[in-house]
């Protein structure tokens, strides 16, 4: 029996790992599904939902950009799919109130940064990132 072993990894912790039947996500090229025995693949992930289908149902993650790597059939006949994401969380664990607050704060920061000329580009980029994350969390949790 070949199986698919999915790992969702963030810098702070391994978020989730376990056997799965499929991994569904979107790269900058388009939507894709990884099934057991998928060929060796490396790619990126655009911010969005990564869905993992397991025999007990599906688990979905909100991933704020990242990369994935599939390594097929090692000696043990297991296809490993590793998702690397700087920031990711279980969709079910998104705190909507917090995301709303974060969105407002990020919007304010962005406005302030745009009004004053003195702020450096990196602060602007970080505020923009924060806003994008909050918006993604909200759009994901509404579904």
């Amino acid at each position: 029996m070949t199986t698919l072993l999915v790992e969702i990894v963030t810098p702070e912790a391994a978020l989730w790992s376990g056997p799965a039947t499929a991994l569904i996500a979107r790269s900058s090229v388009g939507d894709f599904t990884i099934l057991p025995q998928h060929t060796s693949t490396v790619g990126d992930l655009v911010p969005g939902i990564v869905r993992v289908d397991t025999s007990e149902g599906e688990v979905s993650f909100c991933v704020h950009g990242g990369y994935f790597q599939v390594t097929p059939d090692g000696a043990d006949g297991v296809t490993r799919a590793t998702v690397l994401a700087g920031i990711a969380e279980l969709t079910s664990e998104i705190d909507v109130a917090r995301a709303h607050a974060a969105k407002d704060a990020a919007q304010e920061e962005l406005n302030a940064a745009q009004r004053s000329d003195a702020t450096d580009a990196s602060a602007l980029a970080l505020a923009r990132d924060a806003l994008a994350r909050a918006e993604l969390r909200l759009s994901v949790s509404e579904k």
Binding site: P11, S40, G43, T82, L84, D129
Partner: protein
């Protein structure tokens, strides 16, 4: 006055004991932080290794593109140096060894005619370099004890900007690497241009051979991968720095506690002797007085 000496000693013993309490508390706190910060290093490892594997894979997938993107420029006019030190002192040689290594690196680069732009992490770093007349472009403080990934992202975005804009050709990182609980060492590594890790850390290279699909193609992937890999490397350096800091502090404070014990003991001995001496002197005086009275009768 015999009692004066004793009182001074008693006061010193008290002060040594108070200091000992502080160093002991710091030792215990540092010890409790060690295991926590070590656990964070281990939690970070899968991500870091995954990143490195992807870079290796991409570099093997299209060596020509990788060569172009990852190779060193012929001349490095400006180099960015990032030095990671701690926010607090009282940690043995942790800060000074990283800072000195950074200083040596800067001197070496400058002697080769390279302009150095310096970025610092940790409260202890910037004053060290400013005192030595070096300009610190930006200093990141307040998280050296417990770094978050967002801190690493901030540093990465600031440090990568001059590189991507072509103002600098190289980004170097000086930090204390955590090799094991017993050994840490200060190392310098090149962050940008990305260096391809020598070998995958835990896996046999056989899975890396063969045909691999890339989505998008290698060139695009490597370009977008560079800032992410930078974040990952900086984060792991911060985590290892924090763990090294706690270990170093624990060791320094344990030594300080031992010293306070020794000092307290020897001071107590001196005080006891002083007290005994004063008692002896008093008895001698009484006996002498009594003798004088009797012989005078």
């Amino acid at each position: 006055m015999a009692g004066g000496q004793e009182r001074i000693l008693r006061r010193r013993i008290k002060s040594v004991q108070a200091t000992r309490k502080i160093t002991k508390a710091m030792e215990l706190i540092a010890a409790s932080q060690i295991s926590r910060s070590q656990a964070r290093i281990f939690a970070n490892r899968p991500y870091r290794q995954g990143m490195q594997r992807i870079i290796i894979e991409a570099a093997l997938g299209d060596p020509a593109a990788a060569e172009k993107l990852l190779s060193m420029p012929d001349t490095v006019e400006t180099a960015i140096v990032v030095v990671v030190a701690g926010d607090r002192g009282l940690s043995g040689a942790y800060n000074s060894s990283a800072l000195r290594a950074g200083e040596r690196l800067i001197k070496q680069l400058q002697s080769q005619g390279t302009t150095v732009r310096l970025f610092c992490v940790g409260k202890k770093a910037a004053p060290f370099y400013r005192f030595r007349g070096l300009d610190v472009e930006r200093s990141f403080v307040g998280f050296a004890d417990r770094p978050n990934f967002s801190d690493a992202r901030l540093i990465a975005s600031v440090v990568a900007a001059p590189f991507t804009q072509g103002q600098a050709q190289e980004v170097l990182l000086v930090s204390t690497r955590f090799l094991s609980a017993g050994s840490q060492s200060v190392e310098t590594e090149r962050l940008l241009p990305l260096s391809v890790p020598d070998a995958p850390i835990d896996e046999t290279p056989k899975v890396l051979k063969g045909y691999t699909e890339f989505e998008p193609d290698v060139k695009e992937l490597l370009t977008s991968l560079a800032p992410r890999a930078l974040e990952s490397e900086i984060f792991s350096a911060l985590l290892e720095g924090a763990a090294s800091f706690h270990i170093s502090q624990q060791r320094a404070m344990a030594a300080a506690t031992d010293n306070a014990d020794d000092l307290g003991q020897s001071l107590t001995r001196i005080m006891n002797r002083a007290r005994q001496d004063s008692i002896t002197t008093e008895i001698m005086e009484i006996v002498g007085g009594a003798e004088a009275l009797r012989s005078g009768k």
